[in-house]
C-alpha cells in the first residue's frame, strides 16, 4: 500500500504502532491453548521459544510493510515465517490465516475513532482492504506450505527403503544396477 496511504492516517498508525502490534501479538498467542499462550509470552529466548520468536520476528516488520513501502518479496517472506509454523499445527486453514484478518479488530479499536475525527473514513477502509490483501497472501503461503508437506511426504515415500524381504530400494537398485552392467560391458569389450 505504502505510497497510497494517506499521510494523516499513516501518522495515526505510526503513533499507535506499539499498542497495535502488541495487541496483535497477544491475539496470536491466544490462538493457542491458554498454557501455551502464557509460555509464548513469557519465554524470551528465541531458541527456547521457536513459535514465539517466529511471531515476534514477523509481526513488527509486517506492520511496517502495511503502513510503509510494501516490498512484495519481503511481505511474502514475513508472512511465510508466520504461517509456515501454523501450517503444520492443529489449525484449520481458516484459523491458521485468520490471525491476519484479526488485525482489523485491533486497528478498528485503536485507530478508527481518530481517523473518523479527521474525516479519513474512506482512507481507513482502504487500509483495512490492504490488511485483507495480506490475509489472502497469507492463504497463498499457507497453501504453498501444505503442498510442500505433501511433496515431502511423497519424497519420503519414494526414498523410503522398501521393507521387502530380500528386496532393494528400487531407485538405488536401478542406479547401481546400471552402473554394474556398464562396468561388465566395458570389461567384456576390453578382454
Amino acid at each position: 500500500m505504502g505510497r497510497n496511504l494517506h499521510k494523516g492516517l499513516r501518522e495515526i498508525l505510526v503513533h499507535k504502532k506499539g499498542p497495535i502490534v502488541e495487541k496483535w501479538r497477544e491475539l496470536i498467542h491466544k490462538s493457542y491453548p491458554p498454557e501455551t499462550a502464557q509460555f509464548l509470552k513469557r519465554e524470551k529466548d528465541r531458541f527456547s521459544n521457536p513459535i514465539g520468536s517466529s511471531i515476534e520476528d514477523s509481526i513488527w516488520p509486517l506492520f511496517d510493510q502495511l503502513i510503509g513501502e510494501a516490498d512484495p518479496s519481503t511481505t511474502k517472506k514475513l508472512l511465510d515465517n508466520l504461517v509456515r509454523v501454523r501450517a503444520v499445527q492443529d489449525f484449520t486453514p481458516a484459523s491458521a490465516v485468520q490471525i491476519i484478518f484479526a488485525l482489523k479488530q485491533i486497528v478498528r479499536k485503536e485507530v478508527l475513532p481518530a481517523a473518523q475525527k479527521k474525516g479519513l473514513l474512506r482512507e481507513y477502509l482502504e487500509f483495512e482492504s490492504e490488511i485483507d490483501r495480506f490475509g489472502l497472501l497469507a492463504f497463498d503461503v499457507f497453501m504453498e506450505c501444505r503442498e510442500r508437506v505433501w511433496e515431502i511426504k511423497r519424497n519420503d515415500l519414494l526414498k523410503r527403503p522398501y521393507l521387502l524381504a530380500g528386496g532393494m530400494c528400487p531407485s538405488y537398485m536401478m542406479k547401481r544396477g546400471i552402473k554394474h552392467l556398464e562396468k561388465l560391458k566395458k570389461e567384456i569389450t576390453q578382454h
Partner: protein, 545 residues
C-alpha cells in the same frame, strides 16, 4: 474419536481455544500426527498379544474383553518391577520445570505435549486406580479410571514422544519422562496396538537380523555396490570382509547406513577408514543391525533383538565390537546391553590396534563408538587427511539425543569435524550438547504418514540450524545417527531448504587421502567438489575400470 463436524461447527472459526482443565479437553486423533497401526502378521511373528486389524480413526480398536484387567495388571507388574517407574509416578510435584523443554510442545503448542502432561496421562490412572486418595477422591486427587478414551489418549501421546530425555535434564527430581513413555508403550503393546513403523522393523529384525529385512546376500551386495562407487569416485578397490572368523573386531552399524540415502555415504566413509588403516575387522550378515526398534516396543523385545550382537561376536571369535553412527543403538549398547545379554566375558577390553589406546569406558560392555575410534586415530596422527576437500561445506553438528544426553559423547565428533573440515560452526548453546533438541522423529516415529508431527517436533532443531545458516552460511548439518540422517533432510526441506545432511564419517571419507587414489573431482556422492573438478578444456578424468 475423530468425529464429523456439524455445519455450525464448520462455520465457526475459533481463534481462542477454551480454557478448561486438561481432563475436560477431549483428545482428537488426527491424520498427519499418528502412524499407521501394526499389521497383525508382524505382531504375530514375534509372538506379541492380540494381533488384529484396526484403525486409530475407528471407534472400536478391537480391544480384548478383559483389556482393563490386563492393563491394570500390566501396570501393577511394572510398578513392582521398575522402581524408577513407581518413583516417577509418585514424586512429581508438578513444578513445571520440564513443561516447556519438549520439542513436541515447542513445535506444536499442544499442552498435552508438555512432558509433565504426557506423564500425567498415565500418572492420573496410577492415582485413580492404585492410590487410596485417588480411589476415593478421584479427580480431586488428580486421579481417573482407565477407559477406552483414556487408553486412546495415552496411545496418541506415547507416540508423540521420541524418548529423547531432554525434559529429564531440567527436572529437579530427575524424573525421566522417556521412561514413562517406555512403560506406556509396553502397556499399549499388551493389546496389539503398536505402530507398524516400529512393529515391522521389529519383525524383520527378528527374522533376518536387521530392520529392513535385508537377507544376507542383499546386505553383502549392497555394501559391494558401495565399493563400486568408491572405485569410481576414489579409485581404490575395497573388498570388505563378511562373517570372517577370527577377525579382531566385529563392526555393527544400523542397516539404514546400508540402504538409505544419505546413510550410504556414511557407510562409504567407514569402508574407506577401515581400508586406510588396514583394520582387521569383519561385517556380519547376521548381526546386521545396530539399531533396535525393540527398544521402542518393550524392554523384553529390546533384549531379544540385542542378543544377536554378542552371540555373533562369540561365534566369530572377535576380540571386541566397534559400532557405527547410530542414536538409540547407543542408548541400548551403553545402558542396557551389558545387563541384557552380558557381560561378555569372552571378549576383551577394546584396544585400538593402531594406537594402543585402551577404551576403559567400554571395559564391561566391550563395544565402542566409531567416533571414539576415529578421534583416537586422528589424535595419534594415524590418518592422512586433506580437510580442503570439505572446504565447500560450512558444517554444523547436531548432537543426537542418545549419544550425547544418553552416553555423554560431546567432544569426539567435534574433534573429528574440526580435523576433517575447515569451516565448523556451532549452533547456539542451549540447543546443543546435553541440551540438544531432538530431530523430532526418533523412537520409531520416522514414518512418512506422521509428517506433520515430525515437522512440528523438528522445529526447535531447525530453528537453530536456520540461525547458523543465516548467520554463517552453514549448508551442511552433520550428525552421528542413522535416524537423524534419514529424517533431518525432510525437516530441512521444510524449514531450511538450503541445508543438507550428512554423517560425520562421510566427512571423514571425503577428507581421507587414500593410498593409490586417482584424481578425486567428486565427493562420495558423486558430486563435483568446487576447486577439485577439472576446469573445462582440461583432460577428462579417465575412469579406472
Amino acid at each position: 474419536m475423530a468425529k464429523e463436524l456439524t455445519p455450525q461447527e464448520m462455520l465457526r472459526i475459533d481463534l481462542t481455544p477454551p480454557n478448561k482443565d486438561w481432563m475436560d479437553i477431549p483428545t482428537v486423533i488426527k491424520p498427519g500426527i499418528y502412524c499407521y497401526p501394526a499389521k497383525p502378521e508382524k505382531v504375530e511373528i514375534v509372538g506379541m498379544p492380540n494381533p488384529h486389524v484396526w484403525s486409530p480413526l475407528d471407534d472400536d480398536w478391537g480391544l480384548p474383553e478383559d483389556w482393563k484387567e490386563t492393563f491394570l495388571e500390566g501396570m501393577r507388574e511394572r510398578l513392582n518391577k521398575h522402581r524408577s517407574f513407581k518413583i516417577f509416578m509418585d514424586i512429581c510435584v508438578r513444578c513445571g520445570a520440564c513443561a516447556d523443554k519438549c520439542h513436541f510442545f515447542l513445535g506444536s503448542g499442544d499442552p498435552k505435549n508438555m512432558p509433565v502432561a504426557r506423564a500425567e496421562l498415565i500418572r492420573s490412572v496410577y492415582r485413580g486406580e492404585f492410590t487410596k486418595a485417588g480411589k476415593i477422591l478421584g479427580r480431586l486427587a488428580g486421579g481417573r479410571k482407565i477407559t477406552e478414551d483414556v487408553l486412546k489418549e495415552i496411545w496418541y501421546y506415547m507416540f508423540q514422544c521420541t524418548e529423547c530425555r531432554r525434559c529429564s535434564l531440567f527436572c529437579p527430581y530427575g524424573i525421566d519422562t522417556a521412561e514413562v513413555t517406555i512403560i506406556g508403550r509396553e502397556l499399549i503393546n499388551l493389546f496389539g496396538l503398536n505402530i507398524n513403523w516400529i512393529q515391522e522393523p521389529v519383525a524383520n529384525c527378528y527374522e533376518t537380523g536387521n530392520h529392513l529385512g535385508l537377507l544376507p546376500h542383499t546386505f553383502k551386495q549392497n555394501i559391494e555396490f558401495m565399493c563400486m562407487d568408491i572405485e569410481d569416485f576414489v579409485g581404490v578397490t575395497i573388498e570388505p570382509p563378511f562373517n570372517k572368523k577370527g577377525a579382531e573386531i566385529l563392526f555393527v552399524t544400523p542397516s539404514g547406513d546400508v540402504f538409505a540415502d544419505p546413510g550410504i555415504y556414511t557407510l562409504m566413509g567407514y569402508l574407506l577408514l577401515f581400508e586406510h588403516i588396514g583394520l582387521d575387522y569383519t561385517w556380519s550378515t547376521y548381526a546386521s543391525e545396530g539399531g533396535n526398534f525393540g527398544f521402542f516396543t518393550s524392554l523384553d523385545m529390546a533384549q531379544r533383538l540385542n542378543a544377536k550382537i554378542y552371540a555373533e561376536a562369540k561365534r566369530l571369535g572377535v576380540k571386541w565390537i566397534l559400532g557405527g553412527e547410530c542414536g538409540h543403538m547407543w542408548r541400548v549398547v551403553h545402558q542396557y546391553m551389558n545387563t541384557f545379554n552380558g557381560p561378555p566375558e569372552f571378549l576383551e577390553e577394546p584396544v585400538n590396534p593402531l594406537t594402543g589406546t585402551k577404551f576403559e569406558n567400554a571395559k564391561s560392555a566391550k563395544m565402542i563408538h566409531i567416533s571414539e575410534f576415529t578421534a583416537d586415530l586422528i589424535k595419534h596422527g594415524k590418518l592422512k587427511l586433506n580437510p580442503k576437500r570439505n572446504d565447500h561445506l560450512k558444517v554444523t553438528y547436531h548432537d543426537s539425543c542418545n549419544p550425547s544426553r544418553g552416553m555423554g559423547m560431546f567432544e569426539e565428533p567435534r574433534y573429528i569435524i574440526n580435523n576433517v573440515c575447515n569451516n565448523f560452526y556451532e549452533m547456539p548453546e542451549n540447543t546443543i550438547r546435553e541440551q540438544t533438541f531432538c530431530c523430532g522423529s526418533g523412537a520409531g516415529l520416522n514414518a512418512g504418514e506422521n509428517m506433520e508431527l515430525r515437522l512440528r517436533g523438528g522445529l526447535p532443531r531447525a530453528n537453530a540450524v536456520k540461525y547458523v545458516h543465516e548467520r554463517f552460511g552453514v549448508n551442511m548439518l552433520s550428525c552421528v545417527c542413522a535416524i537423524d540422517r534419514a529424517v533431518l533432510p525432510a525437516s530441512m526441506e521444510y524449514w531450511v531448504p538450503d541445508v543438507n545432511v550428512c554423517g560425520v564419517s562421510e566427512l571423514v571419507g571425503n577428507a581421507l587421502i587414500m593410498e593409490g587414489e586417482h584424481d578425486r573431482p567428486t565427493d562420495l556422492r558423486g558430486e563435483e567438489i568446487p576447486g577439485f573438478a577439472k576446469a573445462e578444456g582440461e583432460e577428462e578424468v579417465t575412469e579406472d575400470v
